[in-house]
């Protein structure tokens, strides 16, 4: 293992037992990944792609079926106790602690599990609650907090031991735009010394684009691409990305997907207007005529269409074949 790698996996595979008669479910399929110290590495993928499974293996919660995984050079199966001193995990959308305890009491409990000194714990709790906007709620019971503030507490718990490697599984789930932005700012400032590493899973492409040094796109347990957001987008530069607004929406979207030359397609519907926006990544412009006639055959009208610079979402669509929505 290279010296400056914080996370490394080699041919990592994880199977889960499926329903009787259906065989095993492949959650991770020969995943090779390297995350360097100081990096924010984003994992993008649809539900069930294997993102959380990978994080659970690295966080010593789950055993791999085969292959190897290392955190800070320590093999996760053999060195779990050592790894636990170096890591923490935040899962979005989960209860961050005991509802009957206050924010401060919850954080104090976890600070003591991580062996912080009493003074050190007090300072750390003060620092985290201030920076994450929890300062006015430190004595409030966790059960009284709104979803967004509970998630802030969850994040504060994850940062309590100042981990060398932090696993963030959908950390901004349930956060409003401003809170999510505050969190991103906080993570960047926390990583400023270059010794911390974050493995982040998210559904928000813009978040991954903004935050991550590198991104891995994962689907059905396989890493389809892994590079900086910029390079991933550049690879797509030769493939035109189009946004087409139509009404009414197309019921049978699969019939559009089968058109030769469509690399990926995602649809976002507007329930109020009945219109929907198709995001397409095409092999080349020649596909447009077939596409427009298909839309017409479906009885839909084109309201607007525009060609755009490739975004991370377009990269995702072109690799996975569909959007996250």
């Amino acid at each position: 293992m290279k010296r400056d790698l914080s996370i490394e996996t080699r041919s990592l595979r994880r199977l889960f037992k499926g329903v009787p008669g259906a065989g095993d479910v492949v959650a991770l399929d020969s995943v090779d990944l390297s995350v360097e110290e100081g990096e924010i590495f984003g994992l993008l993928g649809p539900n069930g792609a294997g993102k959380t499974t990978l994080i659970k293996i690295l966080a010593t919660l789950l055993l791999p079926t085969s292959g190897e995984a290392y955190v800070k050079g320590l093999e996760v199966v053999k060195n779990a106790p050592k790894i636990r001193r170096l890591i923490n995990l935040v899962s979005g959308g989960e209860t961050p602690g005991y509802g009957i305890l206050s924010v401060k009491e919850n954080l104090w409990f976890f600070s003591q599990l991580y062996g912080l000194s009493r003074d050190g714990a007090r300072d750390r709790i003060k620092q985290l609650t201030d920076q994450l906007g929890l300062d006015t709620y430190v004595d409030s019971r966790m059960s009284k907090l709104s979803t967004g503030y509970k998630q802030r507490l969850n994040l504060a718990r994850g940062f309590i031991n100042n981990p060398a490697v932090l696993f963030l599984d959908e950390p901004t789930l349930g956060l409003d735009v401003l809170s999510a932005k505050q969190l991103r700012t906080f993570i960047r400032s926390w990583m400023a010394d270059g010794t911390k590493t974050v493995l982040l899973t998210t559904h928000y492409m813009a978040e991954a684009d903004e935050m991550c040094n590198r991104v891995g796109i994962i689907d059905r347990g396989k890493v389809l691409a892994c590079d900086t957001p910029q390079r991933l987008k550049m690879k797509l530069a030769s493939r035109p990305s189009w946004k087409i607004e139509i009404t009414p929406n197309i019921q049978d979207l699969d019939s559009v997907r089968t058109i030769q030359g469509i690399v990926g397609l995602s649809e976002t519907s507007n329930i109020e207007t009945g219109a929907s926006t198709l995001k397409l990544v095409l092999e080349d412009e020649s596909v447009m005529s077939s596409l427009l006639s298909k839309i017409s055959q479906n009885g839909s009208k084109v309201l607007a269409m525009s060609k755009s610079e490739p975004t991370l979402e377009d990269v995702y669509i072109s690799l996975v074949g569909r959007g996250l929505q």
Partner: protein
């Protein structure tokens, strides 16, 4: 994990457990509950005393009453520890969703389980004291039944070590139950109470072991709870058994349960990591 770290994690787990179990209501209501709970158990004893009244001979009746009062009072340790620790994983995994976060902390679940078990010990100790005081006050004071229990003459040199050993063994049993409930599916609902029920029937709480069917007696004689209650009754002068043997058995069985508990935990941990059970949500 260093002993000091383990002790600190245990202490904080105890404090968290105490807050969870005591802060659910205002202090007056909590204090009332803490009093009512053992008194309700005392009512059960009162009914048993009435049934015990049908035994032949006034001396036998009173000795029997004293036996069930003391046994029943101290059985609270068994009931509280096994029930609460058997249920602990379910609430922390499904309701509070903190089990996995505690598990990936340096001390994992060991000090946490012990600390939470100690909360049950404190609660049970309060219940034991209240039950004994009220029993003497009601049966010997108000009803003047002259049951042979003298709290002031209890042999503390026998009672305290026996209680400490008994409690240590019970926490080890609770630790084992908590480990089993990590990998069990819905068993957590009955785990603690089932074990407490078996201990109640076979531990000599109500019936002397000699009154049990002969095929059950070896099981009863193997249970540490039997010896724990034996020595406790001895310390109140209610029976005359071989103290040294009972204490030695209690000590050895406690060590054995701790060892078995650790082995069970390791098996459960391995299975939970294989199947991904540390963050499993109950869907019922």
């Amino acid at each position: 994990m260093a002993i000091a770290d383990f002790a600190r994690s245990t202490r904080e787990s105890f404090l968290v457990g105490w807050k969870i179990e005591s802060n659910w209501t205002d202090p007056v209501l909590f204090a009332t509950y803490r009093l009512v709970q053992p008194l309700a158990s005392l009512l059960i004893v009162a009914f048993i005393v009435i049934i015990g009244g049908s035994l032949p001979g006034p001396g036998l009746q009173k000795a029997y009453m004293a036996r069930i009062i003391v046994s029943n009072a101290f059985f609270v340790y068994v009931a509280q520890i096994t029930t609460n620790m058997g249920w602990l994983v379910n609430t922390d995994r499904s309701r509070y969703e903190v089990l996995k976060n505690i598990y990936i902390s340096p001390g994992t679940l060991h000090p946490y389980f012990v600390g939470r078990g100690l909360v049950s010990v404190v609660n049970a100790t309060i219940s034991v004291i209240v039950t004994l005081l009220f029993s003497v006050a009601v049966f010997n004071g108000i009803l003047n039944l002259q049951i042979p229990i003298n709290l002031l003459s209890a042999n503390l040199l026998l009672l305290i070590p026996a209680t400490l050993l008994g409690v240590a063994g019970l926490i080890a049993v609770g630790y084992m139950l908590a480990a089993v409930s990590i990998v069990s599916n819905r068993l957590e609902f009955i785990l603690g109470e089932s074990v407490a029920g078996v201990f109640f029937l076979l531990g000599g709480v109500i019936f002397p072991i000699s009154a049990l069917p002969s095929w059950v007696q070896p099981m009863s004689a193997a249970l540490p709870v039997t010896y724990f209650l034996d020595v406790v009754r001895d310390s109140f002068g209610l029976s005359a058994t071989n103290h040294l043997f009972d204490m030695a058995y209690l000590a050895l069985s406690t060590v054995a349960i701790i060892i078995v508990g650790i082995l069970v935990f390791r098996r459960a941990e391995l299975r939970a990591k294989r199947l991904g059970l540390f963050d499993r949500k109950s869907e019922y």
